[in-house]
């Protein structure tokens, strides 16, 4: 598939319309001097990725992403930011002074991954063929079956993990109480 063919497909324009804001938002997430802005840019990036999932016919995943991430996780983040009284405005202390090691590392990661994609494409083949499954949405039914058939044990494990996280989060986040406070039940 040549670049001209690729551009000719309207769906690819939709892809670009989402991918570009996504990358830009991601960059702002890691460079913004304002923590709140960073979090909100993350929302943007995740929303774009949800859009991509829709393009890839993964509707369920897309909505889960929106609900869980944008609805819950990011709100959690914002709460976290506020609770930790992190400076809401601009802050110079947010990043290291020397960023070149990070830049080098991330470039290396990108380089290696890129090389990997190329190698895999060579070995596996078909990477530049039009994706087959696009068009018809994956039924949620299949996903549900997958969870309780093939992936039942992991599914339970994740549920357990969530419970553990819940308890752990409470334990960690609540104040250490003096015995007197303990008796009065002040922590609850």
């Amino acid at each position: 598939m040549t670049l001209a063919d690729w551009i000719a497909e309207p769906v690819n324009w939709a892809f670009l319309a989402m991918a570009f804001p996504m990358v830009l938002a991601a960059l702002r997430v890691v460079t913004s001097r304002n923590v709140v802005h960073a979090a909100l840019f993350l929302v943007l990036a995740l929303a774009a990725s949800a859009g991509l999932f829709l393009l890839l016919s993964a509707e369920f995943v897309a909505w889960v992403l929106v609900l869980v991430y944008i609805g819950a996780v990011v709100v959690l983040f914002l709460f976290g930011i506020m609770i930790t009284r992190a400076p809401i405005g601009k802050e110079t202390n947010l990043s290291h002074k020397k960023i070149w090691p990070a830049a080098v590392a991330s470039l290396a990661v990108f380089g290696v991954t890129f090389w990997l994609i190329y190698e895999l494409g060579e070995q596996v083949g078909g990477f530049s063929d039009t994706l087959p499954a696009v068009g018809q949405a994956t039924p949620t039914e299949i996903l549900g079956e997958g969870f309780i058939n093939i992936y039942l044990i992991p599914f339970e494990a994740v549920g357990f993990l969530l419970l553990a996280a819940l308890i752990g989060g409470i334990t960690l986040a609540r104040k250490d109480l003096s015995p007197a406070e303990e008796r009065e039940g002040a922590g609850l």
């Binding site: 991601a26 993350l42 995943v61 869980v68 990108f110 990477f127 087959p132 499954a133 989060g169």
Partner: protein
């Protein structure tokens, strides 16, 4: 749409996440970077799913697992940050070097 474009996008997002991970010193922003990396992974998973087109939609299931675990991770992570902040009045991870020799 071809697979490569999603893989490259994922790689790009992941690299940006790595950059944020290494260049940030505020704990919350580091967590944000981690979220970026996870999102990149999700893109890969879903794209591969579309590529292989498996009957059981393994890729999407995995993506949902990732989202779930990420949520748990954020919960715990923020709780830790909260705790640290309460003790140290700082979200700067450079100052958290108690666990050293």
């Amino acid at each position: 749409m071809v697979l490569t474009q999603f893989l490259v996008l994922g790689a790009l997002m992941f690299s940006i996440g790595v950059f944020g991970l290494l260049s940030r010193r505020n704990a919350v922003t580091i967590l944000l970077s981690v979220e970026l990396m996870l999102a990149a992974v999700n893109i890969n998973l879903v794209a591969f799913e579309a590529f292989w087109n498996t009957a059981a939609a393994h890729g999407q299931i995995f993506a949902i697992f990732v989202i779930t675990i990420a949520a748990a991770e954020v919960g715990i992570g923020l709780a830790i940050i909260l705790l640290v902040f309460r003790n140290r009045a700082s979200g700067n991870i450079d100052e958290l070097d108690l666990m050293r020799w």
